[in-house]
Structures are given as C-alpha cells and as structure tokens.
Symmetry: C2
Subunit: 374 residues, 2 copies
C-alpha cells in the first residue's frame, strides 16, 4: 500500500503536484528524496572552449543527481538566449564560467524532486535562478535550494522564462537611482529591447511617463504603435533628439529625472542633454560599442549623475536572506498577473533546434528574443 501510494504521488508530481501538502506532502518529500539517489541523464548545450556560439556549442547527454539534502531537481521548461549568454560563450563577458560549461543564465523550471532538507520549495513549484552562471540550457538540472527563487506556477511560460534579467534590470533602474513619482518622466534609448519594453510597462503601471527613443526603420509606425500599446507615452526617432521639437515635447511633460542608456555613443550624449538639472543617466548596455561621452559642463553645471547598472552584480550584492530579490520578484509577478507586464516579443525555438536560436541571437538589434523550449 505504501509503495502504491508512493508511486501514485510520483505520477502526480510530474503532472501538477502543487496540491500535495500536509503529512502526505512530508511523506512524499522523503520518498522523492529517496528516489533521487539514482543518477540520471539529461540533455545540455555545452561548450568546451570560447568562440562563436553556433560553432562551440554542442548538444550532449550529461549525468545529474543524486539530489542532495538541500538540493532540488528541476525540469527546465524554457530558457532565453540573451546577448550576455552569447558574450559569455565568446569569452568577452565580465564573468566567465569554468569550462566545460552549460550555456544560458536565465529560464524557468519546475521542481520535480526535492532533497530531504529542503524547506522552501516543493515539487511543482516553478523556479528561476537567483544568479547568473547556473547553466539553464538543459532539460533538467540539480540546483541548490538557495540558488533558485520560486514563482507562481500559473504565470505565462514566456513571461516567467524572461523575468530574471530584463524586467529585474528595468525594475531596479526605475527604483534605485532617482526618487520617481507619478507624473515624472524617464527617457530611454533601445526602447524596443527587452529591458526597454519592461521599463515602459513598469513605468506605465506607476504613472511615470516614458520618452522612448528608437532608431528609424521602415516599420517605425508599427513599432511605435506597439510600444504605445504596452504603455509608452512618447516614441521618437534618434534624430528627433537633436531637433528643436524636443522643446515642444517638454511643454507637455516635465524633463526627465532619469535617462536609461542601452546604446552608448552619441545616443547616450543626446539623452543626457534632455535630463533635468540633477538628473541621472544609467547605462546598462552598449549596443553601439562606443563609450559614453559627457560634456564637462553637464557634470559641473547641470549636476548630472552618470551611473551604470548590472543586475548580476546587484543580485550578488544582496544580503543572504534575499528579501529585496523576493520582494522584487513578487512585485513583478503581481504586474504580470494584472496583465501590466508581458514578455517581450519572443521566438519560441525547440530546444533541439538551438542552432536557429543561437544564429538569430547573433543578429545585432534583433527585435524578438529567442527562447528555447525544452
């Protein structure tokens, strides 16, 4: 009878185990932990040397497990291919894993087994990595309980898979540099990027206006309409930043307290020109591959503050209890549930067709995020 119950529970686990609880749950956990003592195999996208992703990444079978007392076995559901993943494989990123390494730093998975000492997670929970470097491009992985944070398991899959980097970057940049109140203005370039779209939505949810700068393109109007549909107050072309029309614009909204720069070069300098006295420009990306150039007078007489933001460093600076991270994830999940925050446009690519996703992610200024579906 005990064995039968156990096997029923295990079957349930693989479907939707969220409703397992109480004494029943405790027994189940023991049984699950016990069952994990066998090692098993999953598929992973690994690289042994740095280089161009499509050349150095290979799909391999890897062993995992057993699940230790404070560990969880996670079935990865979806994991995006971000520019920083590509840079990490190329060996040009600020942090690099030991080789061989599994690609991918973001994604969502479902807990399928928990170790006997795990207290914060149960089978069926959805989790995302707390930090970069876990290697999410695989079908399953054993993670430490402390390395992941749980999400509601009824979020849209793509929103969950893309929550840990871009929306967190947008959230922190809107929270940590200027005291923004409803009615204030934020200006940003790369407004169509993953971060840019999250900025638009989080700002709109808080009553903050956004001036969104994108490069000119044949489908400018459609893109502008799409960004306005998710909450952009204004969408303008890069060239417009240098035109006197900007003065007209600032008759209808206050000058920005905050500028968010994902591009660098001239675009950053132009953003800076429109900041209000004492405002901040925060750089989180450098797609133009050019430095940020600041007139001395802007620093001295306009007192602009020029800062940078890296969500990975922010996560690492968090205290061990992770309360700020938890609180941010809760806020973001709440926005997703209220349909105020959606994933950016995504191309879903089957895990085994990863080459397609890697090649697509190598294109500069891609307008859709490529997400591997496991």
């Amino acid at each position: 009878m005990w064995l039968r119950l156990q096997s029923v529970c295990l079957r349930k686990l693989t479907v939707r185990p969220g409703y397992v609880s109480g004494v029943f749950d405790a027994r189940l956990r023991r049984s699950v932990s016990h069952s994990a003592s066998r090692a098993a195999t999953c598929k992973a996208l690994q690289y042994n040397k740095h280089g161009e992703p499509a050349q150095v990444i290979h799909l391999v079978d890897v062993d995992y497990g057993p699940v230790g007392a404070k560990e969880v076995l996670v079935k990865i559901l979806a994991a995006p291919v971000n520019p920083s993943d590509v840079n990490m494989i190329q060996g040009t990123y600020a942090i690099l894993p030991d080789l061989p390494a599994t690609g991918g730093n973001e994604g969502v998975g479902e807990v399928s087994e928990v170790g006997c000492g795990v207290t914060s997670l149960k089978p069926g929970d959805w989790v995302i990595p707390k930090d970069a470097g876990l290697g999410t491009w695989r079908t399953a992985a054993v993670f430490s309980e402390d390395d992941v944070v749980s999400l509601p398991n009824d979020l849209p899959l793509l929103a969950a898979a893309t929550l840990g980097v871009n929306p967190c970057t947008a959230y922190r940049m809107l929270a940590d540099f200027e005291d923004l109140k409803p009615g204030d203005t934020v200006i940003q370039n790369a407004a169509n990027s993953g971060v840019g779209q999250a900025v638009i939505q989080i700002a709109a949810a808080r009553g903050i206006s956004t001036i969104n700068v994108i490069r000119d393109r044949p489908e400018f109007t459609q893109l502008s309409d799409r960004l306005k549909a998710i909450g952009a107050t204004r969408v303008i072309k890069e060239e417009a930043l240098r035109k006197p029309d900007m003065k007209e614009l600032f008759k209808t909204c206050p000058r920005p307290k905050l500028a968010l720069n994902g591009v660098g070069g001239k675009s950053a300098t132009e953003l800076l020109r429109h900041l209000q006295v004492g405002g901040s420009m925060v750089t989180y990306g450098g797609m133009a591959k050019q430095p940020v150039t600041i007139p001395v007078s802007a620093l001295i007489f306009k007192d602009v503050k020029v800062r940078g933001f890296w969500v990975t460093q922010w996560k690492r600076n968090q205290s061990h209890d992770g309360r700020a991270f938890r609180s941010m994830i809760d806020d973001l999940c709440s926005l997703i549930k209220q349909k105020k925050l959606a994933a950016p446009a995504c191309n879903e690519v089957h895990f085994e067709e990863y080459i397609k996703a890697l090649n697509a992610a190598m294109q500069p200024f891609t307008s859709s995020k490529n997400v591997l579906i496991m």
Copy 2:
C-alpha cells in the same frame, strides 16, 4: 565727550576694532551706522560688456552706501583673479551678472561699519562672500549681512582671500561623494591647481593618501617635491597613468575610491581606469576643453559613478541658516591655523596694476594664482 569718544572709537575701528564690545560696542554701532548715512566713493574694476578682460575691464570710481540696517560696509583687502572670473567677464560662464558689473567673486574684506540691525558681525571682523556674484574687485563695498560669512581676522591674508572657492571645492569633494577613511586613496589630475593643492593638504590632514597627476614639464622634480612637501603621497606624470608601473604603485596603497578631475578628455578616462570597483570620479573643471569619455564596461561592470561638482551651486543649495557652510569654514580655518592648509603659490598684484593680474590669469595652466591687493 560723547563726540570725542565716538571719534576715538572710529579711529580705532579703522585700525583693529575687534576688541570693541559690550555697551561701548552698542553705542559705537549706532554711531557707526549713523556715520554711514553719507554716501561715499570707492574704486572698482567694472565691465559694461563681455569680452577679453584686459580690454573690457576698467578701473572706475563708484558710489556706495549708505549702509542699511542689515548691511555692512566692507573694506576689501585682497581678491584673487580666478579662471571663473575670467570666463564670467568673457560671457562664457554658467552664471552671468547684469551689466555693468564689478569683476571678482572671491576675496576677503574687513568690516568697517555695520547697520543698526546687524547682529552677527562687528567692525574689524574679516568676511568672505557666501556666494559668487558679489563683485570683489573693488576697494570697498556695502554687502548685506547675510551675503558674507566671518573669518578669524588673524589668518594669513592670502589664505583668507583664496579660501572661499578652491579649498571649499576640495573640502566638499572629499566629503560628499565617498566615505573616505584614513588609509584610503584619492587620485587627482591638475594636482598643482588651487583645488589640487587644497585636496592634497586636506586629505593629508585626514590621513588619506593622494596620487597626484601633473603634466610633464622641465621642472617636474621641483614641482613634485613642492607638492610632496605639502602632503602629496605620490606625484606622477600623465604618461605614467598608462604604464604598468601603476600596478606596482597599487601594491603599496589601495586603489582609489575617489578620482578628482579638473582636466577632462583622456586624462579623465585614465583616472577612471584606476578607480576601485564602485568608486566615484568627480569632475570640477575641464582645462583640456574636452568631454569626459567613459567606457560602458566601467559603468556597468565596475560600477563607477561619474559626477560633477560646482561649489557655487553647493553654496546656493544650502539651507538659509548656512550651518554646513559655517562648519566647513570653521574646519578650513582650523586647518589654516594648524598650518595644515596654506594658500597656493600666489602673485600679489597691486589693485591698480590689475591689467598685469588679468593678463597673467589668461595664461592656460598658470601655476600661481594672481591676487589683487587693495
């Protein structure tokens, strides 16, 4: 008898009136205030239009007075010619006075008469302007009591005359951007400027090491020795910033938390490279007339903070009670009295030979400050 006493007091006033006090003082004040109801004449260096200082500045007689209830008559003793004074006359500075205007924004004077409602000052006090724009290149002036702040009248004259801008700039930059503790390091370019020399001395008084960058020159060794004599920990040439020797240097002192930039251009970018993770670069001048260029990676991955500082704005942002300003001036005067802070090298120029001082101040990278002695 009353009249005779009064006239005796007035004679005393012009010599050293600091010891007049009590009832005697109160009578004196009334008498002084009364005596000031006559308008009088002084000499001033004025300009009616913007242009090259030596061409547009003229020595003229101007009327002043009478001294109002909340005003003081100040005999100006000494006033420097700063680069910002020159830019103001040229019309290129961030704030410009109404024309005609009297030149000069800094200097020290002695109170010779006080209005009947003045409570914080007495004849004989030394005062400096609280803000830019008072016009200090004159032999006497009537100022509002609130426009000046008193100093001990036994300070060295040149130290008092040059206290209000450069040492205040140095003091605030060392206090307001990073939490510096004894043993920490500050790196600065333009180390031989007025601000640079004040930074060296204030930092040394607090046990903070300074790495001082100057351009190469024939008399490098003498200048280096002079800066070391006032407290510089290390003096290096601009070229050295790009050399591997810097690594050796950082074996003997921690990497700087704070970089102070008075130059801009490449020099600023080089300073930035040596900052510790999370450090700040504060720009207060741009002698190279080139913008500050920052690699995107320094902002994102090294989390460097790029700021500016303008002492005039700082003074204007102070609360009406001016407590922070008073406290800073007290600290700086205390350092001067302890011989830990001296005026930079100065050329004393007689007031009526102002053309000499203006021409000298127009030279780029002058190594002495020109001070008009009235």
